[in-house]
C-alpha cells in the first residue's frame, strides 16, 4: 500500500520543478522581443536511421545582430525549406536565448514535466484517498 507514495512524492517534486521552469519561461516572454527567422542552412546529424537534418534559422534582432538558432527537431528529408520563415522570441540581453514561437517551443520542459506530474499525482492520489476501502474487513465511508 505504500507504492502510492512512490508516485505521489515524485509527482509533487516534478510539479515544483515544472512550476519553477514555467516561471522562467513566463519571465522570458515578458522581457523578450519578437523577430522573424529564416532558414539559412541545415545541421546534419547521423544516427541508426541515417542522416537527419535540423533547420538552422538566422534571426536578425532589432539592433541588427544576427542570432543562429538550430531547431531541436531533426528529420529526413528536411521538413523545412531554405528561406522558410518562423517567428521567434529572444531576450535582448542574451542573444543565445532565442526560442521558436510555438506553445511547445516556449514551454517544452514545463509541458512535459507538468504532464508527468499530473499523471503521478493523480495516480498516487487516487490510492491515497481510497486506501481505507482497500483494507480487509473494514466497512468505511469517506
Amino acid at each position: 500500500m505504500r507504492y502510492h507514495l512512490a508516485a505521489l512524492i515524485p509527482g509533487i517534486c516534478l510539479l515544483l520543478v515544472a512550476l519553477y521552469i514555467l516561471k522562467g519561461s513566463l519571465d522570458f516572454i515578458d522581457k523578450s522581443e519578437r523577430a522573424v527567422g529564416k532558414v539559412t542552412g541545415w545541421s546534419e546529424s547521423s544516427g541508426d536511421g541515417g542522416i537527419t537534418y535540423a533547420p538552422v534559422f538566422t534571426i536578425v534582432t532589432r539592433s541588427g545582430h544576427e542570432i543562429y538558432y538550430t531547431h531541436t527537431v531533426t528529420s529526413a528529408p528536411p521538413s523545412w525549406e531554405m528561406g522558410e520563415e518562423a517567428d521567434f522570441l529572444y531576450d535582448p540581453a542574451d542573444a543565445d536565448s532565442a526560442r521558436i514561437l510555438t506553445y511547445f517551443g516556449l514551454f517544452s520542459w514545463s509541458i512535459v514535466l507538468l504532464g508527468v506530474a499530473a499523471f503521478l499525482i493523480t495516480y498516487g492520489g487516487v490510492f491515497c484517498m481510497l486506501r481505507a476501502y482497500l483494507r480487509p474487513g473494514i466497512n468505511v465511508s469517506l
Partner: protein
C-alpha cells in the same frame, strides 16, 4: 490544434474514468468480503520449468464454499498451502469473486491519470492563449 484534441480527449477520459472509479468504489464499499485460504497449488510446465497457481477456498455468508483460481502462476510458488487472502464479491454472485487489493483500482486510476495529463496539457494551451492573445 493538437492541444485542443488533448483537451477534448482529457475531458472525455475524465468523465469516463470518474464513472469507472465510482463503480469500483461502490463495489468495494458494498460488496461482501471473506477470507480465503490456499488449498491447492496447481502445477503447470513451460520450457521445462514448473509454475504454481494457487487455488483459494472461501466461505460466503450463505455458508457455501467457493473456489478462486489465481490468474498468476509463479516459479517458485509465491503462495503456500494455508496462506490467506481477502476476497470481495457480489453476494448474489460469489463465483465471480476478486482478490482484494490495490490492483482492483489500477485501471480506473491509470485512466484517470492519463486523462488528467491530457487535460493539463490541453488546458495549459488554452490558458496561455487567453493570457497572451495574439502572441502565437
Amino acid at each position: 490544434m493538437v492541444y485542443l484534441i488533448f483537451l477534448f480527449l482529457g475531458t472525455l477520459g475524465l468523465v469516463l474514468s470518474i464513472r469507472s472509479l465510482r463503480a469500483s468504489v461502490d463495489f468495494l464499499k458494498n460488496a461482501e468480503r471473506a477470507t480465503g485460504r490456499v488449498i491447492e497449488l496447481v502445477e503447470s510446465s513451460d520450457d521445462g520449468e514448473t509454475f504454481y497457481r494457487p487455488v483459494f477456498e472461501f466461505t460466503a455468508k450463505d455458508q457455501q464454499q467457493y473456489h478462486y483460481r489465481h490468474h498468476k502462476s509463479s516459479a517458485p510458488s509465491s503462495w503456500e498451502i494455508g496462506n490467506e487472502a481477502v476476497f470481495i464479491f457480489d453476494p448474489a454472485d460469489p463465483g465471480e469473486a476478486r482478490m482484494l487489493g490495490s490492483a482492483m483500482l489500477n485501471w480506473p486510476a491509470t485512466a484517470l491519470a492519463v486523462s488528467m495529463t491530457l487535460l493539463v496539457t490541453g488546458l495549459g494551451y488554452v490558458v496561455f492563449r487567453l493570457c497572451y492573445p495574439g502572441l502565437l
